[in-house]
Symmetry: C2
Subunit: 409 residues, 2 copies
C-alpha cells in the first residue's frame, strides 16, 4: 500500500521517483496525488518525504486539491530554461528535471521514472538525460515494479472506494437484468415494447447510462453472445439481437469517473432457458470458482488457486492452458488479477507467474471460464474479492450468480 513506498524505494536504492506523463489516464499520478485531475507536469517524491507536484500555471488550482505542495513550472524557471536552450523545449526539459530535483534537495542517486505516457518521448528523453547528469541515474523498471508491489495491497481509504464502486456496479447489473427481463420474446428473438429487436448495442447503451447515473464510466464492457461469447475478449457486436437460450458473457469493469478505482465482475446469462451443454459447463465453472476459494489462504502462493482450477477442469475433460498451452478452447486464461486504479494489477493468479502470494489487503478478481466457440458458447463467472483483516477472502461483488434470466412476460 501507499505507506510502503519509502520501504520499496529503499529496496531499490532510489533517491527519488518521478511520475511523468501528459494527458493520458495515469494511475501512477492518481495514486501519488490523491486523484488530482491534472493533465501534465511532474510528481516527484524524494525518499522519506511527501510527493510534490510541479505543474503548468493553469493547473495550479486543480493540483492544489491533492493537498500536496505544488510548484508551477514558472516558479522553477521553465521560461528561462527555454530561453537558455534557444527555444529547444527538449533541451529545456532535460535541464528542467535537474532543476526540479535540486529544488527538492535530491542531490544525487538513482531516480526511478514511472507513469503513463508517450513511449517514444520518454525513451528518447532518457537517452538524452543520462549523459547530462553525472549525479543522477534515471532508471525504468520492468517485472514486479515498485508500484506493482505498492498496489498489491490496499489501505482502508482505498478499500472504502473499492467497496463503493462495487455496490454501485451491483446496482447497474440489477438495472441491466431488469431492463432485459422487461422485454418479451418474439420467437427466439428478444424484442422491446415497440416490437423491434433488443440488440447488444441497446443493452450497452443502457448500461453506460446507468453507470453514469452511479458516477461510473464504462471502460469497454464485454457483452458477447453465442459464438462470440466463446472468445474471452470478444466485446460483442452492437447490431446483434439478443436471442433466447444463447449464453451471454457480460463482463463489466467500470471505473470511477475521471480515472479512479475499478470494479470487475462477469456474469453469464441465458435468456429464458439454457441448453444442456451450457448448463453443465456453467455448473463446472461455478464448481471451479468455489474450489478456488477453498484453497485460498493468507500467505499462500496465488498459483495454488489457479492449479486447483486447472486440476478441476482437466479432471472433467476440458483442455486448459497447462495441458495444451496453445489451445483456443477450454480454459484459456488465468484465474484472476489484482485490481485497483488499474483494471489489471498484481497479484496474478497464474500457473506461469508464480511469485505472488495473498496478503491482508489484497484485492483480486476470481474469474474461471470455459470457452467453446465452435459449439457456439462460452461461460465465465467473476467476482472482485478482497482479503480482510481476519485473513478471509470476501467478495466485494454484490450480485447473484444466476444463469437463467427469465423474461417477465
Amino acid at each position: 500500500m501507499k505507506s510502503d513506498i519509502d520501504r520499496l524505494m529503499a529496496a531499490r536504492d532510489l533517491a527519488a521517483i518521478i511520475v511523468a506523463g501528459d494527458e493520458h489516464v495515469n494511475p501512477y499520478r492518481h495514486y501519488l496525488t490523491n486523484g488530482a485531475d491534472v493533465t501534465g507536469g511532474l510528481v516527484i517524491k524524494k525518499h522519506g518525504a511527501d510527493p510534490v507536484m510541479i505543474v503548468n500555471g493553469m493547473e495550479i488550482e486543480e493540483a492544489a486539491k491533492s493537498g500536496l505542495t505544488v510548484y508551477s513550472q514558472t516558479d522553477l524557471g521553465w521560461h528561462e530554461l527555454v530561453k537558455e536552450a534557444e527555444g529547444s523545449r527538449t533541451k529545456a526539459q532535460v535541464a528542467f528535471w535537474g532543476r526540479c530535483l535540486e529544488k527538492l534537495e535530491v542531490k544525487s542517486g538513482k531516480i526511478g521514472v514511472y507513469g503513463v505516457g508517450d513511449l517514444n518521448v520518454f525513451i528518447e528523453l532518457m537517452r538524452l538525460m543520462n549523459p547530462v547528469y553525472q549525479q543522477y541515474e534515471f532508471v525504468g523498471e520492468v517485472g514486479t515494479t515498485l508500484f506493482d508491489e505498492a498496489y498489491s495491497t490496499k489501505d482502508a481509504d482505498e478499500l472504502e472506494r473499492l467497496q463503493s464502486v462495487a455496490v454501485r456496479t451491483g446496482q447497474v447489473l440489477q438495472a441491466a437484468w431488469d431492463y432485459i427481463a422487461g422485454c418479451r420474446a418474439d420467437g427466439e428473438t428478444v424484442v422491446k415494447a415497440d416490437g423491434t429487436a433488443l440488440t447488444i448495442g441497446d443493452v450497452k447503451r443502457f448500461v453506460r447510462r446507468e453507470l453514469l447515473d452511479h458516477d461510473l464510466e464504462d471502460r469497454g464492457m464485454i457483452f458477447a453472445q453465442g459464438r462470440d461469447a466463446g472468445y474471452p475478449h470478444s466485446r460483442g457486436e452492437k447490431d446483434v439481437a439478443l436471442r433466447l437460450g444463447q449464453s451471454i458473457v457480460f463482463d463489466l469493469f467500470p471505473q470511477e469517473i475521471g480515472g479512479g478505482y475499478y470494479h470487475d465482475v462477469t456474469r453469464t446469462w441465458c435468456i429464458g432457458y439454457a441448453s444442456e451443454a451450457v448448463r453443465k459447463t456453467y455448473e463446472t465453472v461455478i464448481e471451479a470458482f468455489d474450489i478456488s476459494v477453498e484453497v485460498f489462504g493468507v500467505g499462500k502462493p496465488t498459483h495454488l488457486m489457479q492449479e486447483a482450477v486447472l486440476d478441476h477442469f482437466e479432471s472433467k475433460g476440458h483442455p486448459t492452458g497447462r495441458s495444451q498451452p496453445t489451445a483456443q478452447e477450454g480454459y484459456v486464461h488465468t484465474l484472476g488479477h489484482g485490481i485497483g486504479l488499474n483494471v489489471h494489477e498484481r497479484p496474478s493468479i497464474s500457473h506461469v507467474l508464480r511469485e505472488d502470494t495473498f496478503q491482508v489487503g489484497t484485492v483480486v478478481t476470481i474469474e474461471p471460464g470455459l470457452y467453446y466457440p465452435e459449439q457456439g458458447f462460452g461461460v465465465r463467472v467473476e467476482d472482485t474479492m478482497f482479503v480482510n483483516d481476519s485473513g478471509e477472502l470476501i467478495s466485494l461483488t454484490d450480485f447473484r450468480k444466476d444463469l437463467i434470466l427469465p423474461l417477465n412476460t
Copy 2:
C-alpha cells in the same frame, strides 16, 4: 496523413516502426489498426509494407477487424521463448521483439518505438533490448515526431469522422442550453422544477448522458463559473449552484466511444444577464477570434495567428503570455492546437513553438480567452476548424456564439 508514413519513415531512416502499449488508450495503435479494440500486443510496420498486428490469442477476433494481417503471440513462439528464458517474461519479451521483426523480414536498421504505455517498463526494456541486438537499433523520438507529422493533416476518412463528431457535439451543446434554459431563477440562483438549485454536477451529468446518446464519451469537460472560470483549466466544482450573471466557461471535448476522434469546443455563457466587464471582455475575445481567422492562410506559419491575437489583446491593455510570461491573468495560453485521435496534437498555434504551418487537411482549434480570477470571471470561445481543399479555414463546430443564455421563464 496516414499515407505519408512511409515518407516520414524514410526521412528518419527507420526500417520499421513498432507500436507498443497495453490497455491504455493508445492513439498510435488506433491510427495504424483502423481502431481495432485490442488491449496489448504489438503493431509493426515495415517500411513500404502494411502494418501487421501481433496479439494475444484471446484478441485475435478483435484484431482481425482491423483488416490487417494478424498473428497470435503463440504463432510466433511466445511460449517457447518463455521456456527458454526459464520463466523470465522480461527476457522472453526482449527475444520476442526480434522474433517478430524476423517474421516480417526486417533484417536490420533503426526501429522506431512508439505508443502509449507504462514509461518505466519501456525505458527499462529499451535498456535491455539494444545490447542484445547487433542488427537493430531501437529508438524513441521527441519533438516533432513521425506521428506528429502524420497527424498534422487528415485524410477524407478522418475528416468524415471528425465532421460526424462535430455535428453530434453541437447537438449536445443545444441540449445542454435547453436544459439550463428550462430552469428558472430563485433570486440569483438557477433552480430546477422541484425548487432545488441547479448545480454544475447536474449539468455535467446531463451532458455526459447526452454524449452517450450520441455515441460520444466525456473526457473531462470544464464547466466552471465565476472565479473558477478565471482559471483556464479549473474543471468546475460539482456542488456549486448556477447563478445569474456569472460567466460560465463550458469547454467540451468529447471522443468517439472506445477511443476515436475528438471534437473540442468552448462557449462562455452568462445566464440571464452579463456584467458590463464580462460583456466587454467577451466582445474583445470574439474580435480576437475573427482577427485570427483573417490572418490565416495555407502555407503560412501558425504563429502569425497567435501574434495577431497577442497584438489585439495587448492593444486593449490586457496582459499576455508574451508581454508578461509569468502572468496569471489576461491571455495566458496559446491560441489553439491540432486535434484528431488526440485532444492535443500538432500543429500548435503558439508564439513560442514557431515551426508549424497550415496545410490542406489541417484540423485545429481556435480558442482565444481572457481570464480575471480576482475579478471573478473568465471568457473563452473555441471552435474546431479545418482547412478544406480550397485552402479555406472552415469551422466544424456547429453551435452559435451567444453570451447570454436566457431562462425560458
